[in-house]
Structures are given as structure tokens and as C-alpha cells.
Symmetry: C2
Subunit: 470 residues, 2 copies
Amino acid sequence: MKNEKINDIETFFNPQGIVIIGARSSPGFGYGIPMNLKEKGWEDRLFLVNPKGGQIDGMHVYEKVADVPGPASLAIIIIPAQGIPELLPQLREKGIRHVIIESAGFAETGDSGKALQDETYNILKKHGMRAIGPNCVGIVNTDNKLSTTETIQEAYIPGNTAIIAQSGVFGNILLDKLHLFGLYISKAVTLGNRIDVSEIEMLDYFHKDPLTNVIMMYLEGASNGRLLAKTLYTVTRDKPVLILKSGRTSQGQTATASHTGSLSGEDFLYDGMFSQTGAIRAESLDCLVEFARVFSSQPLPKGPRLGIVTGSGSLGALATDAAVLSGLEVPSHPSTATINEIKKLAPNWMNVKNPLDVGPSGLFKEALGAMMKDTDTDMVLAILTIPHAVFRNFQALGIDLRDWFGELKTIRKLAPEKPALACVVGHQEFLYYATEIAGPDMPVFTSPEMSVKALAALWQYGNWKTKVKK
Amino acid sequence: MKNEKINDIETFFNPQGIVIIGARSSPGFGYGIPMNLKEKGWEDRLFLVNPKGGQIDGMHVYEKVADVPGPASLAIIIIPAQGIPELLPQLREKGIRHVIIESAGFAETGDSGKALQDETYNILKKHGMRAIGPNCVGIVNTDNKLSTTETIQEAYIPGNTAIIAQSGVFGNILLDKLHLFGLYISKAVTLGNRIDVSEIEMLDYFHKDPLTNVIMMYLEGASNGRLLAKTLYTVTRDKPVLILKSGRTSQGQTATASHTGSLSGEDFLYDGMFSQTGAIRAESLDCLVEFARVFSSQPLPKGPRLGIVTGSGSLGALATDAAVLSGLEVPSHPSTATINEIKKLAPNWMNVKNPLDVGPSGLFKEALGAMMKDTDTDMVLAILTIPHAVFRNFQALGIDLRDWFGELKTIRKLAPEKPALACVVGHQEFLYYATEIAGPDMPVFTSPEMSVKALAALWQYGNWKTKVKK
């Protein structure tokens, strides 16, 4: 893509000043958005517009766009849909080419809304303007603390993952949730009805964005299937793209049509497109989030061989099944060197195999260290288990559980080039404890199956990338 | 099954008195188990045995089994495996026929362990004794607060779901986790190597147990495939059996063999057995838990038609896809009566369809109420969404969100005969809030896909039960 187009999108994320059309002093978006921006330090670059004039929380409200002193390069529009066609030329007059139209009431509502959307589109094109939306909540940029929607504090923590969503609510509640998984974003965009800016331009933009390493996308339908495929093929050579696509069934397709006016198309075509372009499809919302945690924190594996160290044979077996069914290999043994190392320490009853079930041997940290360094595995899953009554007794007695599980952060560093995850099944207090001792480089999962599915997706992408670059 | 056999299992859950072989004053099972029992009011029926004698926390320790005054009808054995064959006749001498062998070191460790297990088995049979284990943590009974393992307080809250697990650790950590999902148990058993009592006898027992409505089972391999099938067919006519089976792949089968010595067998045979006997197979540990929440709290649906009310079109579409792929129907519209009822209130832009996406109309509670009463749907999913920044503002202003979402507990009661679930995607504070307003009859899920998979499993079982009873 030409730099010009990249720069065009850049204005949405880094505007010089922002005009809010439809600011209000009563609860709702018209109040929440300016308050949010003010709180984040945008007050001196913020211009509120409402025909009623007056003040909102000490900020002047201009009655007309023409009164705005500027400079401003972006408008956030939250007035009813019908008023937007006549508004756009006024903004262009003020030198504002970029608008985020948050208002609903366009193509998603039926024929008359579709006509209004077409009219709006023609005006945008006539004036050389760019628009995100309508029927969306715009963008979030954690780098300059810009959010065009009301966003919780936790979502402003900068990370390396970008989000492309269609629906505004969906983007918003995803941001409400991700921090719980230790997942933080660089930027997010909700595209709504995609009157102008599409998921394809956003992929191009995030491809070039130095703060983004991973792209998560929720898609109801491609704006242009052929171009999406071409773009994905280019982007995935450098950055992983994780896609959750709805409209898999005809009933789901009907639902998306009345939601963002998207034609979702036959699902098998998307499946084919994703696998041929190196995009990773997530089968559920949970998968999308869990995959993103792994892609944003782990190196790509050199091969498909998974080593498992576990305190529970059952969980080891469940993880093994899911790993094999997802396309990984679970060698029946670690390398001879690892076997010898563990056998020196192990009690008679302990089977030194893979999964390596340490049972109550007290050898978890030794086994995990050996598996990390093992030359016959390309990635490692550590399944941590302890009856919680025992955990509480140990805590009460001041016994440090790191004597048992090891200093996970340090053990993880034995092989920084291997993906390594932890999995905890049990009480949430133990989950918090495990998350603390594992640190950010070893994300902790709560599902043995999901943790290996995420590793399998990582291998699928790593393998594709190696092949396509040859 | 004859009453005699039921009574035989009953002694494990309701013993007259308990002997603990291998009680100790140092940390570990030998200390934790007696302490746990004492705390739960079993002190006066508890007899500790250890050749060293002395006292443990004020309780007398008998040096020999012969010294135990009794009466006792159950022994918990936690001494090393080698000592067990000679111990059993001593217990029988004291009138104790029931033993829980928690010690490991039997068939799961290889040939010599297998020989020891065979020897132990012969002694048990010779003396007419019954055993759970070895390589397990025994049982939990929330009714009389009996647990033969260290168990957290939260796991003693009585519920209607029974657990059959093989591995001890697995059973224990499952109990650590379930209360987080609002799921409580009647009884639990971990069977370990199944030297005597098998999952089949336990199914029979829980079938008859008046405190158990739902049976959850984790299985590595059937002890007797033909008999398991016959038993499942009988039990599922009255109570649902949810099964998580590992050993789905040859690598997973190898893992189970070195874990509890189970031969897991070809997976497709199990798939066939479960579907022909009305058992519900869970594809993952998360599925098992989430299904149990629904089966333990919801009525069986009369048909497969799902109505969805949602604040997010995206989540509605994702739930629709997953529902259809799991075998449910999602009619494109609710009944005409419902459409008319909603259209009277709805703004122009709102599509009155199914999923019923209420957007920002403020009509969530009205839409949900109408969908509950709708004659064209057999079950309902309510997807609650709110940007968390807005939630926090409302909380700060003292605005009650029940004005928006409705008094869910009350709305749910409009159709007590229909399964009804809620789903929340977003911040955990909102999840806690939703769980509170929904109450125990409307469990709250965090995954749109999982919530409808659980409803599909409920329909699958309800449908099977209707057919088989004809």
C-alpha cells in the first residue's frame, strides 16, 4: 500500500485536534466520550459542538462547526443519522477530512437506512473525506491515550496486539475482558458498517504499525474477498492474523446481515481463504483471546513436538489427546539425556515418559527444567496441580510453594527460544499464585485442551511462515 | 442391581467409624486427613493407627489394628504399598470389610506393581472385603461431611451432582474449582486403579442415591465395556451421565496406561457406546464442568428451538452459529405475538428477529420477558453486555442496572419449564453483578459458544430420554 493511504489511516489514531459533534451534558456517549478524552489529557485539543451551546464540565460548547477555532483533523459524530449528510461539508470546510461516525440507523436497519448510507458515502467521496463507521465506537490508541469511546483504565495499558472488530459493543466488551488474561493492546478499531475504511485497510495499517506484533480480527463478512485474501497473504508473512469469523451457518449469516449489514458468504470459502493465506482461524471467542495471549508472548516453535510436565496424569492425558488432535506431536519419551537426568532423582514408581507425570515425587521443578532444555521437544506445557487444602496449609505454615514448583520465571528462561505455557486446574487463589510465579513470559491457562490448541495454532503459523518465506 | 451391593457401597459413604492406617504428626496425607475429619466432627468415630503410637493433635494413636476399640466399618490406608497385603486380614479380623487404599505403587508402575495389585486383590476376595483404589483419594460425602482427603470448605456445600473420577489429584482439583461455577456436589469418588469397586458400581449407586440428580464422570478406560454400556443405558433413563473420556488418541492412551493402568481402547467405540446409551460426552474438561452447571440447574427442554436476546449483534451471531452446529434450531423470528409485543415498544431501527438484538433501545428486560413466554422457542439465552466504563459510571451515580437488564430472577420465573441461561462477555465485576441478579436458576456463562453447546447437550439428553421411555 502507498504511504499516502497509511498516512490517511494514521490521522484517525493520531489526530491534531478532535471535534465532537453531539456533545451533551446528560449521561450517554455525548457526555462520556468528551469526559473520557478530557481525563486522558486531550482537553486542550478537544472542541465540543452542540446547537444548544453552553458548557460541559467547564469545557466550552460551540453552537456550530464553523465556530470551532481548531486546529482539528478528526471529528467524532454521535448525532442522529439523518443529520450527517449535511454535516460533512461543514467539517470539510473547517479542514477536517477524517470522521468517525458512531451513530446507528444506516444500512443495518433496512432499505431507507441503506439509502441514507449511500447518500453519506457519495458526500464523503465528493469531498475527499475518510470515514470509520457508521454504527461503531471508533478507535483506541494506547500509545497516545486516545479513545473515541468510554474505555476502562485497564484497557489503556499498552501492549503489542491490535484489534479489528466490526461491532462497537463487541470491541468495547473485548477491551473490558482482555486485561484479565494479561493481554494488552496497541490499537483497536471497530468498523461498523464499513462505509469507507474496511478491515483490509486496517490490516495494511497494522502491518506497518511498529507497535503492533499480533492482529486479532472479528469479521462478519469480507468487504472484498479477493483483496482480503491478497492482503492476508502479505500481512501474515510478517505478523500473525487471528480471525474469529461469524456467519458460519445460514442462520448466523442472517443474524450478521441485520447487525452490520454484512454479507458473510459461504463458510467453507473463508476456511479455504484463511488456510491458504496463513491466517489463523479461531473457532470461538475464547479461542481468539487465548490464541492472542500465546501469539503475543511466545516465540514461534521450531517444530511440532510438545513436552508435557504434569502433576496430574489425567490432565496430562487430556492435554495429549487435544495436542495430537490439533496437529502437534507428543513424543512418547523425552530425549535419553533427559530420561537419565530424571531417573537419577526419581523414585521407582515414577514413569519417565512424556507426558512426564511427576506425581507426588517432589520433582516438578527438576522435571520442568529438564524438559525445557530437552533437545527432542520444541515447546513445553507445565501442568501445575495441588489440592487447594494443601496449598492453604502450606501458605499458613509459611512454606514457599516455589520449593515444589520451582521459580517458574527462571526455569522458563532456560529455553527462551521455545514456547512454554503453564496450565492450572483448581482454585482461583492458586491460579493467581501461579500467574505471579510464572510471569508474563509464561502465560497460565485454565484449560489443558485450550493451552495445547493455542500451541498448535502457533506451530501452524510458524510452519506456514517458514514455508512461504522459502 | 441388588440392594445388597448398593448397601456395600453405602458403607464407604456412611461408615460407622473410621480407622486411619498410617496417621502421622508430620505434614502430608497422614496428618491432613485425620485433621480434616476431626474438624468436620468425626473425632469421636476416628481411630488412628501407627506403629509409633503417641498422639496427634490430642487424638490417641493405636500401635496396632488389633488395639482399635471400634466400632469401625471403614479403613483409610495411606501406608506404603508393600505393607498392604498383610494389613488386610488384620482389618477383617476387626470386622472391617471396607477399605480405601490411597497408596500408589501398584499396577500403574509396571510389572512388579501389577503383581502386588493381583496379590492384594486375591486377599480382598478371600476375605470378602471391598476396596476403593489403590492410587486414589477416596470419597467425599457432603451430606455427612465425610471426606477421605484434604478438602477445602467450599467443596462441602451440598449440591445435587455426583462425581466419579479415576485419578485422585484430578478429583481433588475438580472439587477446588467447581464452587467457582456455582456447582456443588452430593458425593464424589476417585477410583484410582479400580482393584475392586469400578465406575459401573458407582453409576449404580448414584443412580439410586436420592441426593444425586446428575452424574459427572472422568474415565480413562472402561473396566468392562459391555457392562458399562448396559449400566449407562439403565441409569440415563432416570439421571443424566456426563462423561469426559481421555485416551482419544494412541498417544493419550499410552499416557493413561502409565497413569492408572487403564486400557482406554479405541475412541470410536466409546463414541458409539455413549450415543447409544444416552450418555453425554464432553469434549473437554471445561465442557464437562459447564454442562454439569446446566444439567444440575435446568429443566429439560421440550424441543430444540433456541431464542436469543442480546445486547451485542456479534455475540448473537456467534451463539447462533454454535447453536446450529451443535444441533439446535434458531428460528429466524420469535412468534407473531412476541413480534407484535416488541414492535409496540421498539424504535424504528430495531430488527425484531431471533437473535433479538436490542442494541441501545433500553428494551432488554421487555425483550427477554417476551422471549421467555414465547410459544415458538423451547429455551432461552440472554446475552448481557455493557461497556464496563458505562457500568462503572452507573454504579457511581447509584443507577440500578436492573432498570436496564431487568430483575433477571423474576423474568426467569416467567417460564420455569424452559431452560434459560445468561451469558456475559466483559469485565469480571460485571460477571459478578450478573451472577447476583440472575440467581441460581439462571447460570451465567462467559462464552456464547459454550452456553449454547450446554443447551444442545441438554436437548440431546431430553430428546433421548423421551424416545427411550416410549
